[in-house]
């Protein structure tokens, strides 16, 4: 048995969060999620948290473990021989206990048009496009995002400005912009060029460090800055060429 502390928040009882300590059984393979489930089923039925796949692919169980964003199912008690404090993901409003409100996160994801936008010259739709492994490799890592939100909890800019598009959404926009089958980049650049787009990032890089799937959103943001600069320059020259006659 060992002790684990959890930051509780029960809005129907009190407006104040509080730390609560639990004793949980532990083996070499006990995950943070296993410990939470043990508490829920055996000690305190009121503890609330999200989870499902318990294999680091559904993205439900993000929490702060000793202040670092982690997936509860892929982080193990053995990694924390001393103190262990579980808190809800940072920078997102807490609904209850470890459950955060994901609305703003989803709004950012959904705003970047994260779907394939085919051009006018797309081939016959009854056949697949061709895409070589090299073309695929350009975007593949950015397609591995599981939408867990850990990178938002790691991002100091998102903490200061919840309107910042944020790492996962920028990575997702970048995933489609880099896809050889896509022609929608121009439509996606507007939100990325805005004050809440790529330029909000101060390149701390913590987002990429905490990503449980090895996606590198910081790279997406930085490559996005290059794209954004290019697209703004193009806009500028276009504006001059047509004599400021408008878009």
């Amino acid at each position: 048995m060992r002790s684990i502390q959890i930051l509780r928040y029960l809005p129907e009882e009190s407006s104040q969060p509080f730390l609560q300590s639990f004793q949980v059984p532990v083996t070499d393979s006990t995950s943070v999620l296993d410990a939470l489930n043990y508490i829920k089923e055996s000690l305190d039925p009121t503890l609330s948290f999200r989870w499902s796949c318990r294999m680091a692919i559904c993205g439900s169980c993000g929490v702060m473990v000793n202040g670092i964003p982690k997936l509860g199912c892929k982080d193990f008690l053995r990694n924390y021989p001393n103190e262990l404090i579980i808190e809800p993901l940072a920078h997102l409003p807490v609904e209850r206990d470890l459950v955060v409100n994901m609305d703003s996160f989803l709004r950012h994801l959904e705003a970047v048009k994260p779907y394939l936008i085919e051009g006018k010259h797309a081939a016959d739709s009854s056949q697949p496009n061709r895409q070589t492994p090299a073309q695929m490799a350009r975007y593949q890592q950015f397609a591995n995002c599981i939408n867990c939100g850990l990178c938002y909890a790691a991002c100091p800019q998102f903490g200061l400005n919840p309107e910042f598009t944020g790492p996962a959404a920028i990575a997702l926009a970048h995933r489609y912009n880099l896809d050889s089958r896509d022609s929608g980049k121009a439509q996606r650049m507007a939100p990325l060029n805005s004050k809440n787009g790529v330029w909000s990032c101060t390149f701390v890089g913590f987002c990429s460090e905490v990503c449980p799937k090895g996606v590198d959103p910081a790279a997406a943001v930085n490559q996005g800055k290059v794209e954004s600069a290019k697209s703004m320059l193009i806009q500028l020259f276009r504006g001059r060429a047509i004599g400021g006659a408008g878009q």
Binding site: C53, M55, P128, R130
Partner: protein, 610 residues
């Protein structure tokens, strides 16, 4: 209670639900409600690894995919449905490609296909070893293009609104607030996934609790073929986490504790040379046979140990690190994280784990149930594709083919004249009935009332002991009796959490209620099917062989409220392929489903896409 109105309501935001919602939106109308107890990308489709089957290569044929599926299902599949499926499979995978799904490619840029168990030819499309993940995210992201799809994320559907045998909507609990909502619709599609969490040792996410099955069943729709529960031969010990069949498709081999490739002793041989996997031989036999072979090795004391678990070993070392990272990167990640094994250096300890529910909500070939306007698709449904055993990589394609069909049919129905009345009285009644039910569960402080965790622990134990890979009369009788006892105790269940906001105690309790009803149907059908077929294997005398004379039938279980459920038998559609012997390895070579009668799937070279 808030009331919302739609043309079609889809329950479930996984692969089948999203595909159905998109198809409904594309068919017409202007309002599709998509209700899910989790955000769509959390749905369990996300965990599917290996791939999606469709006839693709020039040397393959629709007939062959049909034969593999029907024989794989031990002749209990609805053959007209299988025929429809194999014909529409390829177009659906192409549609996914056009929506951006990152299918793995050949050097030429064409889509790559891999080997899969029980499939005669390479026909499984894949996106590395995260095929379900990429399909689910592609579908979720594509669904954002359709403003007529309105999502209700984290709403738990409690029940159907049914008027004169017509589905007219659903009642749902908003998990974030505890409030009830009524979503009216002219048709409803259930796409809620399977029931693998009835069993302790499974590959499924915690959400896979059979909710949609129970909801339709309680309203009178039959649960069909529920005795057929698929054990995946390769789950990680302890957790049950899935290690994809594609590991074997790519050349991985299974050995017992002595390093011996034991599958050759179970009608799957002769042993294929390392690095030369052969379709339908050895490790590429079907899942039911492989899981059964494990059981025999375990009985013979030839399994190894990992922690408390008896295990055999999946050896991938000969594939080399670079190839493993290209084809099976997620497997490498999972093995490292959860059993601390690097597959390039050591064999992975594995054992069978419950994986898939072949049975489900009975539908006709148009995905419609016995309630007018109620449709079902995906794992929760029994459209009749899988028979007694599903072939790996048929279910991801099933989500698309039948999700599409259900969405289209449901919207076509909704666009016609609906018999649903204004329904104010029935809505009020349904609302107050559920309000009362929830309040009674909430009422605390009464001694002797059980809580859900203790009932769940017993359910898992009962199912594991009585309804496992091998079954018998005594074990099943005991299991059924225990489940009935648990259902009775559940009537008095009490929550430990009385709050409204994100009350997950309530949520899990409601899920358990669903699981218990589904478990009764599963045990009853398993008890009454006194033969061995596909994933349903009996050890008792007279039940060890397939018995077509008596049991070439679907089981249908009907809900009877608090009384014991009732079972009926239903004829199987075998009009294209007469039942033959299922054979793999040498015995299976050259033997197709014997007695193919030559219509339907045959003469179907339109499905060849080089």
């Amino acid at each position: 209670m808030q009331v919302h109105t739609f043309d079609v309501v889809v329950v479930g935001g996984g692969g089948a639900g999203l595909r159905a919602a998109i198809a409904a939106a594309e068919t017409g109308g202007n309002a599709v409600g998509l209700v899910s107890k989790v955000y769509p990308m959390r749905s369990h489709t996300v965990a599917a690894e290996g791939g999606a089957a469709a006839v693709t290569r020039g040397d393959d044929s629709l007939q062959s995919h049909f034969d593999d599926t029907v024989a794989g299902g031990d002749w209990l599949a609805e053959q007209g449905v299988v025929d429809y499926f194999v014909r529409h499979a390829h177009a659906e995978l192409v549609q996914m490609e056009r929506w951006g799904c990152p299918w793995s490619r050949q050097a030429s840029g064409d889509v790559q296909v891999r080997r899969f168990g029980g499939m005669k030819t390479e026909r499984t499309w894949f996106a590395a070893d995260k095929t379900g993940f990429h399909m689910l995210h592609t579908l979720y992201q594509t669904s954002l293009k359709y403003p007529q799809i309105q999502r209700f994320d984290e709403y738990f559907v409690l029940d159907l609104l049914v008027e004169d045998n017509q589905a007219c909507g659903v009642i749902a609990l908003e998990i974030s607030s505890g409030e009830l909502h009524l979503l009216r619709a002219k048709s409803v599609i259930m796409a809620t996934g399977g029931a693998g969490r009835l069993f302790r040792f499974n590959t499924n996410g915690g959400i896979v609790t059979g909710d949609g099955m129970a909801i339709a069943y309680r309203r009178g729709v039959a649960l069909r073929d529920m005795e057929f529960v698929q054990y995946h031969p390769t789950g990680l010990p302890g957790s049950g986490i899935l290690i994809t069949e594609a590991s074997r498709g790519e050349g991985g081999v299974l050995t017992n504790k002595d390093g011996y490739r034991y599958l050759q002793d179970y009608g799957l041989g002769p042993e294929t040379p390392l690095g030369e996997p052969k379709n339908k031989y050895m490790e590429l036999g079907p899942r039911d046979k492989l899981s059964q072979a494990f059981w025999h090795e375990q009985q013979a004391g030839r399994t190894g140990k990992h922690g408390d678990s008896d295990v055999v070993y999946l050896d991938l070392r000969h594939l080399g690190e670079a190839y493993l990272q290209e084809r099976l990167p997620f497997i490498c990640e999972l093995a490292k994280a959860y059993v601390n094994v690097d597959p390039a250096k050591s064999p992975i300890p594995i054992r069978p784990a419950v994986h898939y529910t072949m049975g489900g909500i009975e539908t006709n070939a148009d995905c419609e149930t016995s309630i007018d306007g109620l449709f079902a698709a995906g794992e929760c449904a029994s459209v009749g594709l899988h028979g007694a055993n599903r072939l790996g990589s048929n279910s991801l394609t099933e989500l698309l083919v039948f999700g599409h069909l259900a969405g289209k049919k449901a919207m076509q129905r909704a666009l016609g004249d609906s018999p649903c009345k204004d329904g104010a009285e029935s809505i009020r009644q349904l609302g107050s009935q559920w309000q009362e039910r929830l309040e009674s569960m909430m009422r605390g402080g009464e001694p002797g009332r059980p809580r859900w965790p203790e009932l769940k622990t017993e359910l898992l134990k009962v199912m594991e002991e009585g309804c496992g890979i091998y079954r018998d009369e005594a074990g099943l009788t005991q299991a059924l009796q225990s489940i009935r006892g648990l259902r009775e105790r559940y009537q008095r269940v009490q929550l430990g959490d009385q709050s409204k906001i994100y009350n997950t105690d309530l949520l899990h309790c409601l899920e358990l209620g669903c699981s218990l009803d589904v478990a009764e149907a599963t045990c009853l059908a398993a008890l009454q099917r006194r033969e061995s077929r596909g994933a349903h294997q009996r050890l008792d005398d007279g039940c060890q062989q397939r018995n077509d004379q008596q049991y070439l039938k679907h089981s249908q279980v009907f809900y009877q409220g608090a009384a014991p459920a009732r079972l009926e038998w239903q004829d199987v559609d075998t009009h294209l392929s007469a039942p033959g012997e299922r054979q793999y390895g040498t015995k299976g070579s050259g033997v197709k489903g014997s007695g193919v009668k030559g219509s339907g799937a045959e003469g179907s070279d339109g499905g060849k896409h080089a």
